[in-house]
Structures are given as structure tokens and as C-alpha cells.
């Protein structure tokens, strides 16, 4: 992890403030994600994780500060230019009524000009993306027929077809069983090894510790701590956020993380 430190910063927020009509949610957030790393946001409900994601994605206009994607300010980018840089995986509750192949193909949308028709090249890229996530055999199935894990792979394939360097995910493991979660983690590792920058919100702290290169802990719209999983554990921040301590244990199979529940009782 140390040798990655000199990496290029892909996503950077500088003193960003943002919020909704009811009031400010993010009070000056400095956050960054480096190329080829998995950066995870953790924090209690309502701490501003999703809001930060929405700001980075350009869904929510920010009030102050600046957001830079690959060193270009978000304000200087068109929606399509931004979509060529950042792909987004929504929470898996919405099931569109189309075939998986079509879904992946729509990842090519930001590259098209009016009248937008998908060409042979787009079909080829979509097919490659589907092979990569292992859903090529389900290409002609309807999204509604697929299981939650499969659907998520379709969304990931869509993000790959989008050929964006950054992939942003909001609680990607929520609807997955434990086996699917581990497969998902493997796929994420593989993607980050291929140079994709991944930013996600995770509620499962143990998975976050195992999977992430960096973790940003948010509380009340501020970054409380930003660092490697080890830094986060040593600082005892998880206990402050959730009231539950996480401990690590070095074993033969690498570092293992566990909730220190005894302490709570």
C-alpha cells in the first residue's frame, strides 16, 4: 500500500459545502481518491456519505469549495464529459424492464451524438464488458428475471462499458448474500488492479476494512479521519462513530478484522 502513495489523484474535493433545501449537510469536506485505489466512505446514517457521492457525481450542485475530477473542475465539465470520467452504480432497488445486453449498451450513451444510435463498436465494447463480469450468457435475459447479484453485475458491466476511470457505488452490497458479497469484493479488487478508481459507501465495516485501500470516516458532514484501514482501526474512530470497536488480528492468511463485541457488553 505504501508504494501506491505517489499516485495520481483522480477525485478531489476541496472544502466543499453542499446540502438540500432543508439545510447544509456537508460542512467543508476535503476528500480525495487516488487512481487504482478503492476508497470507502463510512459513517453513521445521515453523516453525509451519500450527499458527498452525489456531489462528486454532479447530481447535487455544491455551494462552496471545488470538486475536481482528474484535475478538471466539475463546473467546467458538461454532463456527458463527466459521464465519460465517472460511472455510477445506483443502489440495486430499481429494476429496469429491458434486457441485460441493452442495459450494458446504454453505458455507451455518453459517447454518442444526436441521433444516438449504437454502432458495431459499441456492441463490441458492451460484449467485452459483459465477458469481464461474467454475464455474457445472460445477455438476452430480462433484468427482472435475474437475481440481485446478477443484476449488480449487469450494472458493473454497464459502468465498464462506460469506460470511465472512476466508478462510484452507493452501498453496493446491500442486496447481496454473503457469497455474492465476497465475489463482488473479488471483482472490485480485480478492477482496481486494472487501474479503475473505485469510490463506494459501505455499511459493512469489516468488508470495508478488508476491501479498501483508503477509508474516509464521516461524521456530521465532516471528514473525521482519512487513511488506510490500519490507521482507522488504530485511531479508534469506528468506536466513536458506531459505538462498536473493530479489532484486527494478524493470521497466516493475512490481517483479519472482527467486531470487538465483548467490550460493548
Amino acid at each position: 500500500m505504501q508504494e501506491k502513495l505517489g499516485n495520481k489523484i483522480m477525485v478531489e474535493t476541496v472544502n466543499v459545502t453542499a446540502g438540500y433545501r432543508k439545510g447544509e449537510i456537508l460542512h467543508g469536506v476535503d476528500f480525495c481518491a487516488e487512481k487504482g485505489e478503492i476508497t470507502t466512505l463510512i459513517g453513521a446514517n445521515g453523516s453525509g456519505k451519500s450527499t458527498l457521492l452525489r456531489v462528486i457525481l454532479g447530481f447535487l450542485p455544491f455551494w462552496g469549495g471545488d470538486v475536481r475530477i482528474d484535475n478538471i473542475s466539475l463546473k467546467a465539465m458538461s454532463r456527458e464529459a463527466l459521464a465519460r470520467k465517472i460511472a455510477y452504480l445506483p443502489q440495486g432497488k430499481n429494476v429496469p424492464d429491458i434486457s441485460a445486453e441493452r442495459m450494458v449498451l446504454h453505458g455507451r450513451f455518453p459517447y454518442l451524438r444526436y441521433p444516438r444510435k449504437y454502432g458495431a463498436e459499441d456492441y463490441r465494447i458492451a460484449e467485452t464488458a459483459m465477458m469481464q463480469t461474467g454475464i455474457a450468457e445472460f445477455a438476452h435475459r430480462q433484468m427482472a428475471e435475474l437475481s440481485g447479484g446478477m443484476r449488480q453485475k449487469v450494472y458493473i458491466a454497464m459502468a465498464l462499458a462506460q469506460q470511465a476511470e472512476v466508478i462510484v457505488m452507493d452501498e453496493p452490497t446491500t442486496y447481496l448474500d454473503i457469497g455474492q458479497q465476497l465475489k463482488f469484493a473479488q471483482l472490485m479488487r480485480q478492477l482496481s488492479a486494472e487501474g479503475k478508481t473505485i469510490i463506494m459507501v459501505l455499511h459493512d465495516i469489516l468488508l470495508a476494512m478488508k476491501l479498501s485501500d483508503r477509508i474516509a470516516a464521516l461524521q456530521d458532514g465532516r471528514i473525521l479521519k482519512y487513511g488506510t484501514p490500519d490507521d482507522i482501526i488504530r485511531s479508534g474512530i469506528v468506536e466513536r462513530l458506531y459505538g462498536v470497536a473493530v479489532k484486527s488480528l494478524c493470521t497466516e492468511a493475512g490481517v483479519q478484522y472482527f467486531y470487538d463485541i465483548c467490550k460493548e457488553v
Binding site: 457525481l57 454532479g58 447530481f59 458538461s78 454532463r79 456527458e80 464529459a81 463527466l82 459521464a83 465519460r84 465517472i86 460511472a87 455510477y88 445506483p90 432497488k93 430499481n94 429494476v95 429496469p96 424492464d97 429491458i98 434486457s99 441493452r102 442495459m103 446504454h106 453505458g107 450513451f109 455518453p110 454518442l112 444526436y114 441521433p115 444516438r116 444510435k117 449504437y118 456492441y123 438476452h140 427482472a144 454497464m158 462506460q162
Partner: protein
Amino acid sequence: MRNKKVSASGRLCLVKMIWRKFAVKKGKRCRKPYLGWGITVCILIMVLSMCLGNIQFSPLELPGILRGDGGNVKRSILLYARVPRTLASLFAGAGLAVSGAVLQNVLANRLASPGIIGVNAGAGLGVTLCCGLGVLSGFWISVSAFAGSLLSILLIFLFSCRFHASRTTVILSGVALNSILNAICESLTVLDTDLAMLSIDFRVGGFSAVSFTRLLPAAGLIGFGMLILFTLCNELDVLALGDETAQGVGLQVGRYRMLFLLLAALLAGAAVSFAGLLGFVGLIVPHFVRRFTGNESGKLLPMCAVSGAGFVTLCDMVSKLLFAPYELPVGILMSVIGGPVFLFLLVRHKGGHGQMYNE
């Protein structure tokens, strides 16, 4: 005899093969040539609709009659009654069906139809006001219907822009506006009972009074709207993926949703302006077409246009012939068919919350 039959069926097979090949050419997957069949059936209905009536022509006679071979009376019947009426029902059906399909996709609700965003109520009020002012020419009734429907759409636009309304809110505000406009309409007709008599033709809907002056501007609008929509199929599909996914692939969601609502309103408003309030076309046709083509707009919209046109023309023909020489207004016939279908849809989709639309 037997030999002849075999060779005929053999020829049919050949035609089918060529047809399949033609249809498969674009996509990789084999798909059935629904659009080809649709167009064929539609043309058949169109020709039948021009031939059948109180005076019957044979299909082969038609070009001759147009040239004036069968005498002036026949030519006038064909040119000033049958042709405008057939064209009107084709355009109205296509416009309403495409408008319904677009609205269902944009609002992510299978039970959306042009009526739900206030097209019908606005047009109804426009016509009632027009009759109230004493203007009774067909052309001005068309204009006021179109203006009424556009105005009510604009109201919903302003409302949803002002409050950044979600898709559900757009539907609900449409329903609210519908009831407000209908209430105004009803109270006007209660105050002046003549109005009820004058505007009833329009409210029921039908093609018996269609003329080229009423038809052509509206038909132009419908053709224009459909052409634009057919080039925006991918945008429509991406929009239907849900707001965040659509934004994630670079679609300006708010702008495109408004554009689609406006185009749908344009199609429906133009259709309603000469056809009257034809209830359920915008609801039934897209729903049935979906079963065959799936939900991809590239296939759905053209098929909706063709089947909507065919369906309305068929209904118009049946209503013309069923109790000849009396005519049943086509709107009534369609409501008789549409009502039960609507109930069926309600049961099937549990109020529009099928598994794909739990927003």
C-alpha cells in the same frame, strides 16, 4: 388443385423467408417481423375503410374513382368523406398511441396516458369555452381544443419545474388539474345547457365531421412529433432507467423529461383537436404492443404508431358499419372495449406498482 395449393404455400414460405431476413438484418438476435405484419394489416384496414360504407367500392376501383371514372358523386364521397376520415383515424390513432407509450416510459407508470397529464380535460374546456363564445366552425373548435390541451400541459410543466417534481408528482398534479378543469367545464355546461349539446360531439369523439382543413395542420404536427421521437429512442430508454442511472450516463434528465412530455402533449393535443376525446387508445395500444416488442423504444414506438393507427381505423370502420345507416360514435365503441381492458390492467399491475416500478 392440390398442386396449385402447394405451390402457393411454397411461394408464401419464400416471401416469409425474405421477410425474416429483412427483419433480422439489423440486430444479431432473430426477431419476429411484427412491424412488417403491422404495416400490412394497417394498409389492409386502411383500404377497407375507404371501400366500405353506405356506398361500397371495390379496392381495385379506388384509383379509377379518384381519377373521376365513376362519376362526380363517387369521387366526392371518396375524396371528401372517406379519405379524410381514414387519414384522420390513422393519424389520431398513431399520435395517441405513441404519446401514450412515451408518457408511460417517461413517467415510469404503465397506466399513464395522454389523459393523465391533462390533455383531454384541457381540450374539453377549450372546446366548451369556444362553443360558449358562439364560435362553432370545425376549424376553430380544433384550434381551441389544441390550445386548451397545450395550456393545461404548460400548467403542469410550470408546476413541476417550479417544485422539481418527481415522476409521481407529475402524474398526481395531472390528476388534480384534470378534476379542476373538468369541474369548470361541468359548471359551465350546467349554467348554459346549450353548451352541453354543442360540445357533446367533441367529448364523445369521432371522425364523422373531419375535413382536410381541420386535419392537415394537426396531421403535420403529428408527423413532425413522431419523426423527432423516433430519433430520440435511446434517450427515452435511458430516461426510463431511473433518474440517477440516467444522469450517471450523462443524460440531462430534467431537460429531456420536459422535452418528452412536451412532444407527447403535442401528439396527443393534435390528435384530440380533430378526433375529440378518444379515451383509451393511448392506454391500451402501448400496453398490448409491449407484449410483442418488449420495452425498447426503438421497436415499441414505431409498432405503437402502426397498431394505434390500425386499431382506431378498424374501430371507426366497425362503428360506421355496425348499425348502418346510423353511426355509433367511435369514442363510445372504444370506451366499451377500453373500459374492461383498463380494469384488467388495474388487476394485473396492482395500480401501476408492478415489480419494475417501485420508485
